[in-house]
């Protein structure tokens, strides 16, 4: 978004884009899904069809819909070759019904064609909250609009997708198609897409079975191209009729045809019933291979893609000594004899069988080698995939062998790889592959699910799942080492629960127990327990121990090399929470800066959102407003919302900053955007925060009635740890304090008593100091000015080390006057001077409608000093005595004394040192001095 003051906006944008491009997609991409089938030399060029289908752009699409074996993919390939446009190919699988996975593959294949394209949609799929499909489709279309070239996107095997989320996306794209995109859908049956409109508009080219079936001429070309030796016109006609122009059957026939002897006899021997033709032909095709190649064919038919090494692994248990063929030999043979194999990459490393051929082979294998051996093949295949790091396929093969328990075990085996690298999307897709009832019966998997839910912010659900897991642990036999880890996980989630319930001591105990139980390689979970331990220690008031634990962790205790960045940013975040709740802005500043630098360079979006909110908090509270938007931009302007909770916090800081900069329209706009976002997530916690914040903005913009109507409805209970920037409860208290209407004082009184008790019990100084300041205002309004001063003094003393400015300024001029009358030490006076000086600048240039309370007192801060008094104040700062001052100004010491007394009274201080301190804070020595 333009409009931000930034020295080189374009350079920054480019740098950011470059960084995003290097980002990995949320799931591992199998590259071989992105290549079109290779054109075999014996192809019949479908000129007849190509002539009638012009792959045009501007909203046109092509539907290739026909049963298996009609050469759909081959035709699509010829189509894109003939069109001359760049093309992106994607062979779909049932797993691509997952919307995120589908989009990740679309991005991957588009990027294969145009490097680095689709930055918007790629950013969206990193998001923990997927936006509505309209927005996704819009982003995709915008991405395409930015491309200079035209692209044909082929979605092959579309019938394998069975999710309305994917269909909806394609529908949206087809509704308003980018001018430079042509979508080709290749499918065995018509997809549930709204194609009627395209059809009616003549924008849809349909290629169906009737068009794809070979004409006699095409059959002739094909047969003559493939069969060696003479073949009579009669035999060709017979082959054509018996196969009904079905290209796959013709190819089978060609493969089955005898190398010598009469082709005519062979043609006559093919059954005339089309349903028995393929079975008959397959038997003939296999009969022509050597027993060993036949053996390999039947066994590799269970692999959806294969390479030489994988084939060897799958065959290995079966009489290795009798194996004369190597994987490479086998690959060469099937490639050379055109046995329905399709190369999946440029290097011809990976192949797959043609689907129909694969089905026929499988049917044959079931009869020939039996179900038990097939299971073994699946298991050996899975083993190879696992050993080579293709975990998704390893799981899939186990599931095909009906080995759900083993599939679950495989996931558990690789849990640390996933969790230590925060690949939560991947874990989610794995868990979805398993049958739900098996998930519910396995404690290890339930625990993984609980952790996944925890990162998604679904607390209640996560705890329920955890309880299920815990109950199962007691009854299920399980390996001792694993049991320890599981118990550790239970404890670490439990300690989080206790912390959320504000029971610091119990949480500390649980967290320590978790760290005892968890093994060293369980990095993510140990990190989590460590963070809760630190936060819980802070809750008990033991900030020093909390910090020590985190410092130790940073200096190497339990942080392994490989994922050190992930963990060390987490540790910095924990330190940030401790410092925030301890009201230590000075400590928080470097913590947040260091963490944000790390998280930013390692693309840890979730950590970055938290750390940016810390940086924003420090700047806002120190009243360094000009820098806030710049600092928050990479979170608030990002499409990928890595963490909804902290995205919301950053939006809140941004809105408040606009408000206090006098841009009320932008403040309102951001607050409204936040509400809209919260409603979209359907997260009750976020919605409550957004509504409360709207009331805060209403209050600051002088719409008291609106704020009050919210405050009267809002239930502040149950109070839970306030570790983020914003607290709805404090807004509620503020509304009641600032409203002088009937009943508000009593409400304010009750709420503040409750809040102050709670915040003191959990040692949350950050919000305690604000609650105390509010109570001071309340007491002052009731005429109890001494009690008010006492309360405010406590607040100031708590806020002074962190140098909070805005907490007090935001409470309005009434507090300013109260501050001025406080009796404090020198440091305190200097600090209060700074706050009062801020009040004065605000009211000097405040726009009248942006002020908090209707009663603006012109006398905030200090009664102006006379010229002479200013002179004397300056000399007091130079540590001159009254006598020296009198000499310097050529007046009597008595007069000096009278002036100093006036100065002290005006500044509300006793004595010259206090006067100098306060004047320093007020900035009276800067400028004209």
């Amino acid at each position: 978004m333009p409009g931000f003051s930034c020295p080189t906006p374009s350079a920054t944008k480019t740098a950011r884009k470059a960084r995003l491009m290097s980002e990995t997609l949320p799931i591992p991409i199998i590259r071989s899904k992105l290549y079109p089938p290779d054109s075999s030399p014996d192809l019949v060029c479908r000129e007849r069809l190509l002539a009638s289908n012009h792959v045009g752009l501007g909203g046109r699409a092509t539907l290739v819909s026909a049963p298996a074996g009609y050469g759909k993919s081959t035709y699509a390939r010829q189509c894109i070759d003939a069109s001359g446009y760049s093309s992106a190919w994607l062979s779909l699988d049932p797993e691509d019904s997952d919307q995120r996975r589908f989009l990740a593959y679309v991005v991957a294949t588009m990027r294969n064609t145009v490097a680095g394209c689709c930055p918007n949609i790629a950013e969206y799929i990193q998001s923990s909250v997927m936006p509505p499909v309209e927005e996704l489709a819009g982003a995709f279309c915008n991405d395409l609009d930015e491309l200079d070239e035209c692209v044909v996107l082929v979605l092959d095997d579309y019938h394998k997708v069975s999710a309305s989320a994917v269909h909806d996306f394609i529908n949206q794209v087809l509704r308003r198609p980018p001018r430079n995109l042509h979508i080709v859908i290749v499918t065995r049956r018509d997809p549930p897409l709204a194609l009627q409109k395209l059809r009616a508009g003549g924008l849809l080219t349909e290629v169906r079975m009737q068009q794809l079936a070979f004409t006699l001429t095409e059959s002739r070309d094909f047969i003559r191209g493939i069969v060696r030796g003479d073949i009579s016109e009669h035999a060709i006609l017979q082959l054509h009729q018996r196969t009904e122009g079905w290209p796959a059957a013709l190819r089978l026939a060609a493969l089955a045809a005898p190398e010598s002897g009469s082709a005519d006899d062979f043609a006559a021997s093919i059954p005339s019933d089309i349903h028995t033709v393929r079975e008959y032909l397959l038997v003939e095709v296999l009969a022509k291979r050597s027993p060993e190649v036949r053996n390999w064919l039947l066994r590799t038919a269970f692999l959806d893609r294969f390479c030489a090494r994988l084939c060897e692994a799958v065959l290995s248990d079966d009489g290795r000594e009798s194996m004369t063929l190597s994987g490479d030999d086998f690959m060469t043979r099937i490639h050379e004899s055109g046995l329905f194999s399709i190369a999946l990459d440029d290097k011809q490393e990976w192949y797959r069988y043609h689907h129909l051929f694969q089905t026929l082979l499988r049917d044959r294998a079931r009869a020939d080698i039996g179900e038990d051996e097939i299971r073994n093949i699946q298991i050996r295949g899975s083993q190879w995939f696992e050993d080579n790091g293709y975990l998704e396929e390893a799981i899939s093969h186990l599931l095909q062998a009906d080995m759900v328990t083993e599939a679950g075990a495989l996931i558990v085996r690789h849990r640390n790889t996933i969790m230590n690298n925060e690949q939560w999307h991947r874990l989610e897709s794995w868990l979805r592959m398993l049958p739900p009832d098996m998930l519910a019966k396995t404690p290890e998997l339930l625990l993984l699910n609980a952790r996944f839910l925890r990162t998604r912010g679904s607390r209640e659900e996560s705890w329920q799942v955890l309880e299920q897991a815990e109950a199962l642990l007691e009854t299920t036999g399980i390996d001792e080492e694993l049991r320890q880890e599981l118990l550790g996980s239970v404890e670490s989630t439990r300690c989080y629960q206790l912390y959320a319930m504000s029971d610091g001591h119990a949480a500390v105990e649980k967290a320590r127990r978790a760290l005892e139980l968890l093994p060293d390689d369980s990095l993510a979970e140990r990190g989590f327990a460590l963070i809760i331990l630190a936060a819980a220690l802070q809750m008990t008031g033991d900030v020093d121990s909390a910090k020590k634990i985190l410092y130790d962790a940073m200096s190497g205790g339990g942080v392994a090399e490989d994922s050190s960045v992930t963990l060390s940013s987490r540790v910095l975040i924990a330190l940030g929470f401790v410092q925030w709740m301890d009201a230590d802005l000075s400590g928080l500043k470097p913590t947040a800066e260091q963490g944000a630098a790390q998280a930013g360079s390692s693309n840890l979006g979730e950590a970055l959102a938290v750390l940016r909110s810390f940086q924003g908090a420090v700047l806002y509270h120190r009243n360094e407003l000009v820098d806030v938007h710049d600092r928050l931009r990479d979170v608030t302007q990002s499409r990928a919302i890595a963490n909804a909770e902290f995205y919301a916090q950053c939006m809140i800081i941004s809105s408040l900053t606009y408000q206090e900069q006098g841009d009320t329209a932008k403040a309102t706009y951001v607050a409204a955007a936040l509400t809209e976002f919260a409603l979209k997530t359907q997260n009750a916690y976020l919605i409550a925060h957004a509504e409360a914040f709207s009331a805060e903005i209403a209050l600051r913009q002088g719409r008291i009635a609106e704020a009050l109507s919210w405050a009267e409805r809002f239930d502040p209970e149950p109070l839970s740890p306030m570790y983020v920037f914003y607290s709805p409860q404090l807004t509620q208290a503020k509304v009641f304090v600032l409203d002088d209407g009937p009943g508000s004082r009593e409400r304010a009184d009750a709420l503040l008593n409750r809040l102050i008790d709670y915040l003191a019990s959990v040692h949350n100084k950050r919000f305690l100091l604000e609650a105390l300041a509010l109570r001071a205002m309340l007491l002052d309004a009731k005429g109890e000015s001494e009690a008010a001063k006492k309360e405010l003094k406590r607040a100031i003393e708590m806020a002074q080390p962190g140098r909070f400015i805005r907490v007090f300024v935001d409470l309005g001029p009434r507090l300013g006057n109260l501050l001025h009358s406080l009796k404090l030490d020198e440091g305190g006076l200097r600090y209060v001077g700074e706050i009062v000086a801020t009040f004065r600048t605000i009211h000097a240039d405040a726009s009248s409608d942006a002020t908090l309370a209707p009663t603006v007192s012109p006398g905030i801060g200090v009664e102006p000093l006379s010229r002479r008094e200013q002179q004397i104040l300056g000399l007091l700062a130079s540590r001159l005595s009254n006598k020296e001052i009198a000499d310097r100004l050529n007046i009597s010491p008595v007069t000096v004394k009278r002036h100093t007394a006036n100065i002290y009274q005006k500044l509300g201080v006793h004595g010259r040192r206090q006067a100098v301190a306060k004047a320093t804070g007020l900035g009276m020595f800067s400028g004209s001095g």
Binding site: A66, P192, A194, Q196, R208, Q210
Partner: protein, 71 residues
């Protein structure tokens, strides 16, 4: 029988009328509370299979499929 034909498909449940465009433009009537009838001319078996599969995936149990007219 490989070419176009008019089909009538009956399913249990009320199919939203707006789905017509995603179901090859078949005409949908919801006869009573719990039954829908789809009638329309389909290009071939791939189209029919697409309609049946979409109904299956949206969990409408299929009661009958009839071919009313070939061509």
């Amino acid at each position: 029988m490989q070419g176009p034909a008019v089909y009538r498909v009956r399913v249990q449940g009320a199919v939203p009328l707006a789905w017509s465009s995603c179901l090859m433009g078949m005409n949908i009537t919801v006869s009573n509370e719990d039954e829908s009838t789809l009638v329309g001319r389909l290009l071939d078996q791939a189209a029919l299979s697409g309609v049946l599969s979409a109904l299956y995936e949206h969990q409408y149990p299929i009661l009958s499929v009839e071919c009313l007219e070939v061509g």
